[in-house]
């Protein structure tokens, strides 16, 4: 694990990168990294996240700055700017049931090719997908998801990069920390090594490539 300035960490991300970004309606989104992506004007991004938040908030900042080429998310209902860009053909939006989305990411991080889920069977979600029957029940085959970068929001870290999260700020964060080639974590608080009890570490330090003490 290396510590980096916010600007240097975000400078690692090239135009066209795929990013998994933590947060649920911007709660638990690393706003500092989102702001810096906008400042550095990273373009043609693929964003994999729960939602696109609200206009100008969290991932909504990337949408407003028109930096997102494709979004793989479960919900855009509270961000009319995403909907407008989607309808205008300026952004591709892949809507995925939330439980399927997080489990595809988990599969990507856990070395699995994908998952079987009954969610979406008999709906428009099944269109074009492989179906299998296991023990008499029908499932969709949903492929694993990985990304170039995971942008993680932590509540507390130590100087090795062990991470913990707070309340509903956890959401996608520990799952995406398993599923990207490069993991950048922005933390609200940093404490000396040893202060986080081993039982309370949620994301172990070796998963974190870069740590920024600015959430």
């Amino acid at each position: 694990m290396r510590t980096l300035s916010l600007a240097d960490a975000v400078a690692l991300i090239p135009d066209g990168a795929s990013l998994m970004i933590g947060g649920f309606m911007a709660v638990g989104t690393p706003e500092s990294m989102v702001d810096e992506l906008v400042r550095q004007g990273k373009r043609d991004l693929t964003v994999i996240a729960n939602d696109t938040a609200l206009p100008g908030v969290g991932i909504g900042k990337l949408v407003r700055a028109r930096l997102v080429k494709k979004a793989i998310v479960s919900h855009i209902g509270l961000n009319p700017e995403t909907q407008a860009q989607m309808i205008a053909g300026e952004m591709e939006v892949d809507l995925v049931p939330q439980g399927t989305l997080i489990e595809r990411i988990r599969a990507g991080g856990f070395g699995l090719g994908g998952i079987l889920t009954a969610t979406g069977v008999g709906t428009v979600v099944e269109e074009g997908k492989q179906k299998v029957t296991v023990a008499g029940k029908e499932y969709l085959v949903e492929p694993a998801l990985r990304a170039d970068f995971a942008l993680v929001h932590a509540f507390l870290a130590d100087y090795l990069g062990n991470l913990t999260y707070a309340l509903t700020g956890r959401n996608f964060n520990p799952v995406i920390a398993m599923a990207a080639d490069t993991v950048i974590a922005a933390t609200e608080n940093v404490v000396p090594v040893g202060l986080i009890s081993p039982d309370h570490v949620i994301t172990p330090a070796p998963l974190v490539d870069y740590l920024i003490a600015q959430s």
Binding site: M25, V27, H75, P97, E103, G122, T123, V125, N171
Partner: protein
């Protein structure tokens, strides 16, 4: 009593001590106002919380503690938090005793449409498909009609949320169950006749000899 109160109070009668329950946004959220005194019900928010409490007082909002709509909530003593994979494992894995969801249409076979109106509203399904497919019991809280048109229809014209039929529909007029896959009128709201329900319903309803009144 307004329509939403009738629906919320009636659904609250489905709660049992110790249940893990997920409430959708809108009318379903109001069910938590009518938990019987002394009963402990665990409310899940799919953003990663069991033990969701009331909306906090002004000034006590915590930016990392919200419901699935991103609105501030509190966590009750005994609450627990977890990531989204665990949250949907609870939903799909048979751990969620009941979900209460809003609806755009329910048809006479119990199919639910509640996530999009093609060409008008494409918000994304969020957690609705997982909840409607995965919860042990699916209860829909829905006004019976919108703009003079019945939302209880013969066949959903809107895209389905799940192929799995719902268990119970509660509107401000009636409680409808789906034994054997057929919409069956089981209760009417206070002061509402069976004829009034039938007149307001597009779906074909099975009407038993005796239809009870909602005990609200």
């Amino acid at each position: 009593m307004d329509a939403q109160t009738v629906i919320a109070k009636r659904i609250a009668l489905e709660l049992r001590d110790g249940m893990l329950v997920n409430l959708g946004i809108g009318i379903p959220t109001r069910v938590s106002n009518y938990v019987p005194v002394g009963m402990r019900v665990y409310f899940q928010s799919e953003n990663g919380l069991i033990g969701t409490g009331a909306v906090p007082e002004e000034g006590m909002h915590h930016r990392l503690l919200t419901d699935a709509g991103g609105k501030p909530v509190t966590a009750l003593p005994g609450a627990s938090t977890f990531d989204s994979a665990m949250s949907f494992g609870l939903i799909r894995g048979g751990h969620l005793a009941m979900t209460v969801l809003g609806g755009l249409q329910v048809d006479q076979s119990g199919h639910l449409a509640n996530w999009m109106i093609p060409g008008k509203m494409v918000p994304g399904m969020g957690g609705a498909m997982d909840l409607a497919s995965g919860a042990k019991r699916v209860v829909i809280a829905m006004q019976h009609s919108a703009k003079g048109k019945s939302k209880v229809v013969k066949a959903c014209s809107l895209p389905l949320t799940s192929a799995r039929p719902i268990d119970l529909l509660v509107s401000e007029l009636a409680v409808i169950a789906f034994p054997g896959g057929r919409a069956t009128l089981v209760e009417t709201a206070p002061g509402v006749s069976v004829q009034q329900v039938l007149a307001a319903t597009e779906a074909e309803l099975v009407v038993p000899d005796k239809v009870a009144e909602m005990a609200i």
